[in-house]
Symmetry: C2
Subunit: 455 residues, 2 copies
């Protein structure tokens, strides 16, 4: 076995040719999306006004284990993939841990994160269907940027509803999207019925992801030739993001490395679901065992303090219901929360796996997250996104535990992206302006009380 | 010959083990740095209060062709190098050109540019000398960020004097440097005699690179255990940056590709000098011929409209004199200039090569630069730095010329970095607020009149 390099790189020809559909190996399938009016599973026909046809097929397919990646998508993947699997030699040394730490780095593309993997796929299928354009929401802006890039590749119109507080605090993200030709509107806006309704009820609102979703969905259904696309939560997104895990596994296999612990941050679950997919598949098939840890912010703790229930994905309550760990569609994290991962729910696939005891979850306070981010930056060089830094926090904690126990465990975590557009959050951290308050049980009860009643 | 991938990647073991010292192959050596008082070449002893010892040796060595890269530096290079040599298949297709376009992409590290290559080397030698810290200036912030990162690796104190206008307009760059532990001060400041003098003479000044250099040098010489480091212009920097060209050549050689045209943006010359070094070496030794084009902003046209003369590198006129193409140390580009590359002078090595007719230079207006940047981003995905976009502009122009003439030339350009911290400039471009005015001959004459009188 050769010495392991700092960066385990695959060649372009080693990019997986098919996505892995984890649901095919799940005995307990994720619950289907449900029509909020009839409380019956959504059919492809019912989804067709909102989503692209081929993406609906992928959303509903829980039996086909591998779905071929079209050549044209592969061609775009080759512009920035395979992404490197990094060996954190220097972090190990700094922590004086016997643990071996690896991270899959998805930030080396202009979107700054793994989101581009699904954006390219979704834009491709939209173009293939002959659509004029797509609509979406964005919070921190990673997904909106990724979709803007993908739409510029496929010459599709791109309308992004950006949570107002981010639109105002992150003018540079907005400008990046515009550089790629996207139309970016602060949400809530006067463009939509749902936006006008929310503005009337909450005149000073700075918006939420759930609200921006409602607006983007409304615009897609009221404009011929448009569909709505989403960067997380959905099964199709986890499918596309399986490329992260497949590459990670291929890179590890190349050097005969078997991970003990896999760690990923989790907001809607796109990165974590993608990273763990082939490993969870082995676990489901009884071929191997891994500890898998989802890390979420203590201020938006869907897994660790949420309910496993059918809920709306959007504040406007116009989307299908999804069965997931949720804090309620009405839940909005405290305004001081800087670390991303603000969605109230969680991927139905990951929710089912968590419910079945196949993975753990851990909630971490934000100052500890930014401390890990800064420590990592100074040692490993890469300035991580606040979201990714949740995974770094727990990876460091686990490595320190190994130092205490003397175990040389192999830890793999997902470094989903870079923090270049998050310097306002780092500035607050440096100034001591981040606080670690978490929602009280009473706060959470408000969201739970609004959960729809489904059998 | 295999099909050429989108990204020609070398392995970590293929990183060159030695820098190439272009000066060793130059018949007409770059003129020595000169003592501004005595008008005699600066000796190592005279330079020692300002620069690190080993870096002085590299600065003065114009005969040793290869200088070994210390293992510790190589170890840090391996965290982000080799950088990819990209084949711009999609740009070629969009331009419908028979030309083959490659770009060496140096932006995939948190400093966002090639500057890290020299920062790591300079910090290493400072640490090896037992210094406590280093001082430097930064304009757009790429160099300051790179040095902050390198100093965090080697546990060195890092004091950055940041041109005031950038400090105010680029708070995020400043915050990145602070994340890496650097002390960042807006220049001119009250910290230094030269800063206080400039503030007294020009109370409202927003600073200049030349002024920030003066402050950083003063602080280095008045604090025991500190030295001054510089990210461009100097011979030592071009030496370190030769890694760019050596990797480029190795990647091209792997596929038997011989470039016809090499293009790089040029401010102080660090990227261009590094990129072209092995190719220029072949040219100097009569082994091959290449067209080499330096691209500079029309608003700061050192090569195309400057004088080849001894001049100060800094506004405070406390640094040694360098013989270079210069607009005069008193020249400051118009405030509307957004594209970086603002230094009044140019690398003495490149200046000599240009003077000897071994390379061309072209000045481009800034709107054309940002148009190229946006076109490139939409097609190739990567959002380029305004600096790098000067090279993109000319690469596209040359590729379009190939379409007209039907010549299938091979064009290689340096994509020095990403524009993630330059969105204010892109916003101005989108809003039509960039103007293409250039200095008049009378404007330039003011700078020329201040040139020091040397034989």
């Amino acid at each position: 076995m050769n010495e392991i390099p700092y960066k385990i790189l695959l060649s372009e020809s080693e990019i997986p040719r098919a996505w892995y559909n984890l649901r095919a190996d799940m005995k307990n399938k994720p619950a289907p999306l449900m029509n909020p009016a009839t409380h019956r599973p959504m059919t492809a026909e019912e989804l067709a006004p909102v989503f692209c046809e081929e993406l609906i097929a992928q959303e509903l397919d829980d039996t086909t284990p591998y779905i071929e990646i079209p050549d044209e998508i592969l061609g775009y993947y080759k512009m920035y993939r395979p992404s490197p699997l990094m060996r954190a030699y220097r972090l190990e040394e700094a922590l004086q841990t016997p643990a071996k730490i690896y991270y899959k780095f998805e930030g080396n593309n202009t979107s700054g994160s793994h989101k581009l993997n699904s954006a390219i796929a979704q834009a491709y299928y939209a173009k293939k269907q002959g659509l004029k354009g797509v609509t979406t929401e964005t919070g921190a802006g990673q997904w909106g940027t990724a979709l803007s890039m993908a739409c510029s590749y496929f010459d599709l119109d791109c309308k992004v509803y950006m949570v107002k507080v981010s639109y105002e605090q992150k003018p540079f993200r907005r400008e990046v999207m515009r550089t790629y030709g996207a139309a970016v509107t602060p949400s809530p806006s006067e463009d939509t019925a749902v936006g006008r309704k929310i503005l009337a009820e909450h005149p000073g609102t700075t918006g939420s992801l759930g609200c921006a979703i409602s607006e983007a969905v409304e615009v897609s259904t009221s404009n011929p030739g448009y569909r709505y696309v989403l960067g997380s939560v959905l099964n199709q997104v986890l499918l596309h993001q399986s490329i992260i895990g497949l590459e990670t596994k291929a890179a590890l296999d190349k050097y005969g490395i078997r991970p003990d612990i896999l760690i990923g941050c989790a907001g809607g679950g796109s990165n974590l679901g993608g990273l763990i997919s082939p490993f969870m598949g082995e676990k489901l098939r009884g071929e191997a065992d891994y500890r898998i840890i989802a890390v979420e912010p203590a201020s938006c703790p869907s897994f660790t303090r949420g309910r496993f229930a059918y809920d709306f994905c959007d504040t406007g309550m116009i989307c299908p219901l999804a069965k997931m760990y949720t804090l309620g569609a009405g839940f909005i994290p405290a305004p001081n929360h800087a670390g991303g991962l603000r969605f109230h729910g969680m991927s139905p696939t990951l929710s089912q796996l968590y419910h079945d005891g196949l993975m753990e979850a851990r909630a971490v306070p934000q100052n500890a997250v930014f401390e890990a981010a800064e420590q990592f930056a100074r040692i490993e060089g890469i300035l991580p996104a606040p979201e990714s830094s949740h995974a770094i926090r727990v990876a460091i904690d686990e490595a320190v535990r190994c130092r205490e126990t003397g175990e040389a465990k192999t830890i793999v975590f997902g470094l989903t992206g870079t923090g270049y557009f998050d310097m306002t959050a780092f500035e607050k951290f440096h100034a001591g302006l981040l606080d670690d308050s978490i929602p009280t049980d009473a706060d959470l009860q408000i969201g739970f009380d609004q959960l729809p009643k489904v059998e």
